[in-house]
Amino acid sequence: MKLKVISGICLLLVVLVWSCQSDESIEFNRYYSSGIAVYQTHCQNCHGANGEGLNGLIPPLTDSVVLKTYSIALPCIIKNGLKQQITVSGKLFDGEMPAVSLTPIEIAQVITYVTNSFGNKRGLVTDDAVAADLAKCAL
């Protein structure tokens, strides 16, 4: 009897946790798949289909440590471009990245895609989070 109750509670917990996760994962999948389209239209020409960049000219998007370091700055970099030099995967890049005209939700989608592809695994980045980061852009 006791065993039945315990296993019942366990099952309930598992179902609860699973349903919560799937809610977030639905949201994640929605951002991620929209992010693919944004990436292909606005980023892929330079950064490549696999985020490989272009030798010493254009930095790759495969360096998780750099993406984490710049996680708060990412929305601003995408929106306003990047003029200062940046070290990625141990290489210095001093070219200029042009500004990309995107809405906060598109920025959130593309960051969700990039930071969960090419060997990166950051999880969902929401448009609220992006809007908060954009408000702090140093211009």
């Binding site: 892929q44 020409n45 330079c46």
Partner: protein
């Protein structure tokens, strides 16, 4: 038995066609028939459009005339180093061509800048270095702007123009143009499409196997 013989005949015919079906690349541009007298005999020959002589400077600061390309098959594109639109994907694809033929003496890549004002020799050298290009199999050429634009449109059949409304200030088509050892245009490929660039690499090999007219 008759059926069998028919089948054998069909196979023979098919293989005969295949044998004769060795691919030759088309020759692009204008052509004209020229009749001249050779050794007292009247001979009619076809004269094809060729790339005219030019003299530019490469990324090493060396003066390069079209003579340096005599006896070479080469691939040409038009670009500028600060190009934000189609150039990165073109150069990524051109790198495949470079890697396939960098050790082949008679195949070269010639990239003409359409922005000679900003793309000075040091700028071109830095760009080549960052792209990972060394040696003399890929030259980035800089020259008189009007001459480059005329070469592009009249000879290589690639559209280029200056346009202040475009990203980066210049518009150009992303074609890779294949030139044979007689300086004739033999192919034109969309440099932004990896499949067409694979075809270009295959066509260079076809062209290399072509006998050269003496």
């Amino acid at each position: 038995m008759r059926k069998l013989a028919g089948g054998v005949l069909l196979i023979l015919l098919w293989s005969a066609c295949n044998l004769n079906n060795k691919k030759t690349l088309p020759i692009f541009g204008n052509r004209q028939a020229v009749t001249k007298t050779v050794n007292g005999q009247t001979v009619t020959d076809t004269v094809y459009q060729t790339i005219p002589a030019f003299k530019f400077v490469n990324q090493y600061g060396d003066s390069i005339s079209s003579k340096a390309l005599d006896g070479h098959i080469y691939v040409t594109d038009f670009f500028f180093t600060s190009c934000p639109s189609i150039c990165p994907i073109m150069q990524r694809n051109m790198l495949n061509v470079y890697n396939a033929f960098k050790d082949t003496a008679d195949v070269k890549i010639i990239s003409y800048t359409i922005d000679p004002r900003d793309d000075s020799v040091p700028v071109l050298k830095k760009y080549a270095d960052k792209l990972g290009i060394s040696g003399n199999s890929w030259w980035f050429l800089r020259g008189d702007k009007a001459t480059v634009y005329q070469l592009a449109e009249k000879s290589y059949l690639v559209g280029v123009s200056q346009d202040s409304t475009a990203a980066g200030g210049y518009v150009h088509q992303g074609y890779f143009v294949l030139i044979d050892k007689e300086k004739r245009v033999r192919g034109s490929y969309d440099g932004t499409d990896p499949k067409q660039v694979d075809q270009l690499i295959a066509d260079i090999k076809t062209l290399k196997a072509e006998p050269v007219k003496q």
